[in-house]
Amino acid sequence: MEVKGEIYRVAGPVVTITGIKPKMYDVVKVGHEGLMGEVIRIVGDKATVQVYEDTSGIKPGEPVVNTGMSLSVELGPGLLESIYDGIQRPLKVLQEQMGDFIQRGVTANGLDRDRKWDFKPTVSGGDSVKGGDVIGVVQETTNIEHKIMVPPTVSGTVNEIKKGKFTVDETVCVLSDGTELQMMQKWSVREPRPVSKKLMPTKPLITGQRILDGLFPVAKGGTAAIPGPFGSGKTVTQQQLAKWSDTDIVVYIGCGERGNEMADVLNEFPELEDPKTGRPLMERTVLIANTSNMPVAAREASVYTGITIAEYYRDMGYDVSLMADSTSRWAESMREISSRLEEMPGEEGYPAYLSARLSEFYERAGAVHSLAGFDGSITVIGAVSPPGGDFSEPVTQNTLRIVKVFWALDAKLSQRRHFPSINWLSSYSLYTNGLADWFTENVAPDWIYIRDNAMDLLQQESELQEIVQLVGSDALPEDQQLTLEITRMIREYFLQQNAFHPVDTFCPFDKQYKLLKAISKYGEMANAALESGVPMSDIMSVESKDDLAKVKFEEDFEPALNVVLTKMDEEFAKLGGK
């Protein structure tokens, strides 16, 4: 089956081959060492290959073999708790085989071939099954039941079904036409897995981050982008989402970013508990790490590898969150390869297909009815790293045309250590209205009112600040000075959230609600007092107002808050404001 060709030219990660007639996107093995690559252009009798490994020392004339397969991932039990490179090679296995530095020419299976899983069939002989149907289950981690599904393109009648311990490549089911099914299936990464129907997202992804849940929520199955200059908090925010979101599965892609950040996740996630299940976070997580110094072609592939794995769990009916940090590095890998191909460059050297690729990727998010009829979702959250922090560049702009939520990071805020440094004036969520019913039912009937009111005040603040810049705050009328004080409280007490504080790092929705309501209560009482003639200085020196600053850090939040609120009532009663 294997036909041999040879290398014609080598220029970095781009290799031209001759002598074989591959199909577009076929995976080929290049050179004596069999480096993995993918056909990305065919011209006459030559084909261009992007190679996923370093090509130093590779010579023209070395052999090339076509595998005839497109770039695929292995799907089955054992994905969770793994860390892969961009082409699904387990980094742990690579380390065992070649030490602490990644050498090339090593192949490693995405799924462990030795490990046995306890397969419990859910169909019997004679049942008819179609693509996506579940034929059995495996307990993959304590809380995740892995459904073994018929590959989307297969259907038939069950002739034989097994039960017991098997490896992922042993046959567990035979259909009457002789088709053998294993627990593992392969899927080409560049092709979305089919679903029966796409649904409108109706539930929020609760993240435990006040500014996100409170002001700019993303829906389960939605899309969000976090653009920001370096050091403004993209990675920390993404990691916070990976840690605390009420999601079943997390796929975290470190795409062209730092090795230490991935090491951090690897270190922390097994220790941290999923707030929903109490189990280590790692048990619901799949990591893809193709760091900035790893080959760019594999960086290009990493995003597809990640989203395909996400789709697979979605098909089982799980809510999956996918974080891609950073989609700009992904776009740059496309640019790098495109320029080696001497393609006609588009805006800022990016290939003309940049925007198509971005929308194809985000389009793979969504809430769906799977082929088997389960409801599952993929929420995609992409970091964007605009050069110079300038959002007018092509990757940010093209992304904003697609995603529904925009969390705009702001260097001015991060420099003063206002975290998360998400700008509350320029960010937006297009899900806010669609999710309003959910919030009213599940948080509190007055939540929307309190939230909108806070947003409104923040808007006013920015206008007042302009005046203050000209005349100083003392020149403002008293009610406006009060507004500035309340918005300061909203910013510092509510919006600011320290990801590294043991308590504050995660804030349940109920706590978010009570905190904002408390601030709003001070606002109401203070305004009433002011109207009934209480001097401004008295209102400002209400102690309970300052006490409110720190209740969010309390382990026992409710009692601490109640103490403050009682004191607030007493203090205002003394002022005679009500």
């Binding site: 014609y8 030219r9 080598v10 220029a11 031209t16 370093d54 090509t55 130093s56 020392g57 590779i58 010579k59 023209p60 004339g61 860390i83 980094l91 690579l94 380390q95 030490g99 602490d100 530095f101 990644i102 200059p229 370096f230 050091g231 470190g254 062209g256 730092r258 090795g259 230490n260 991935m262 090491a263 951090d264 690897l266 790490a289 760091t291 900035s292 110094n293 760019v296 740059e332 790098e336 460059p345 050297g349 050069p387 110079g388 300038d390 991060s414 420099q415 003063r416 250590r417 206002h418 203050v468 000209l470 100083g472 705050s473 003392d474 020149a475 007490y493 600053a549 720190k550 850090f553």
Partner: protein
Amino acid sequence: MTKEYKTITEVSGPLIFLEKTEPVGFGELVNINLPDGTTKRGQVLDTSAETVVVQVFEGTGGLNSESGVVFTGETIKLSVSKDMLGRILSGAGEPLDGGPRIVPDDRIDVNGASMNPYSRMPPEDFIQTGISTIDGTNTLVRGQKLPIFSGAGLPHNEIALQIARQAKVLGSDEPFAVVFAAMGITNEEAQYFMQDFEKTGALERAVVFLNLADDPAVERLITPRMALTAAEYLAYEHDMHVLVIMTDITNYCEALRQMGAAREEVPGRRGYPGYMYTDLASLYERAGVIKGKKGSVTQFSILTMPGDDITHPIPDLSGYITEGQIVVSRELHRKGIYPPINVLPSLSRLMNSGIGEGKTRDDHKAVSDQMYAMYAEGRDMRGLVAIVGKDALSERDQKILEFADLFEDRFVRQGRDENRHIVDDTLRIAWEILSELPETQLTRIDNKFIDVYHPAHKAKSE
């Protein structure tokens, strides 16, 4: 493989084009013998059955079609041995100090392989530099890459040297070494470093690579790779903690741009190659700590921002790769403050893992955040005061305005040889200036820390 080819068909900038060779490997090292008997070195950039493109490190001056080209069959390697310590080498790894060639213990490909993220140990050992604006608010840890972003004429060299002299992990005397890579700096600047190394005895524990301003720009592309290869060797084969100082990253990037232009590549932002991010990452990412290994590689590089512009592609792409940056400010320098580090745009991303209870002190993070918030606000007030006058400020705002001055004068400013202890000096000063603010303004600090460390409370409880 010792065959000499005289088939050069074109010489263009730093590139030569050859025809009709045996198959040549990508990235292979090339020797070029000139008619006058000298030899230059180069590297294969593009290789096909018909044409080979070679980039010449020492520049193509004096080269013609009579020159002979020999392909060595291997990629660029550095001869390493522990005897490198105390040696001064050229930017291409040849001895410059009149000493013997390094007797190699090993020969290592200078490009280095990427460290498997799975093998990395998150850096967490606090390095005390004795400088408050670093230790207190932008803490450096072992295995971090933390560059200085500076500008022409600012005292970044002094700061780097002060750090090289003072840096240590408290309570440890594990073997350490300095690897110094000069890229395109002037002879005078290089001398400044060398003299300080000699004076303090640091040279014995240093390996120096010098590519000076008048050395070929192309060589600059391998100098940092040589230096990092030496550093990795000392760290992972000889268990040393290595501090790598590379200066100036900007000169390196200029060389990269020059090469890109010579290759007629489509330029990216401001003429720098589109792959500059990836290229810089292949340097910066070579810092780190490996599980199970004793040594480490910490990078403290100097980068002068063209036009003091932090959004220029060189600092911008660097900032996206490194684990923070220390920003030197012209404004503070003009005010006569040394070290003129502006903490606001500065950042150490690994700070959180290097500080706190058992490392520095439990209140460290909160104190740092509080100072940032107040200093940032205080600086805004300065702008406001210039317009509306001090009297228009509320009492609270006036206090914050004063805090900004105190911060610069007491916390930022320190002596060139002043080696501050993190707890006894840096955090003490921090609390002293914070206690000038009304206590209700200390919203970033847990009450339990205020009770223990605030001078007013401390006095009471003692």
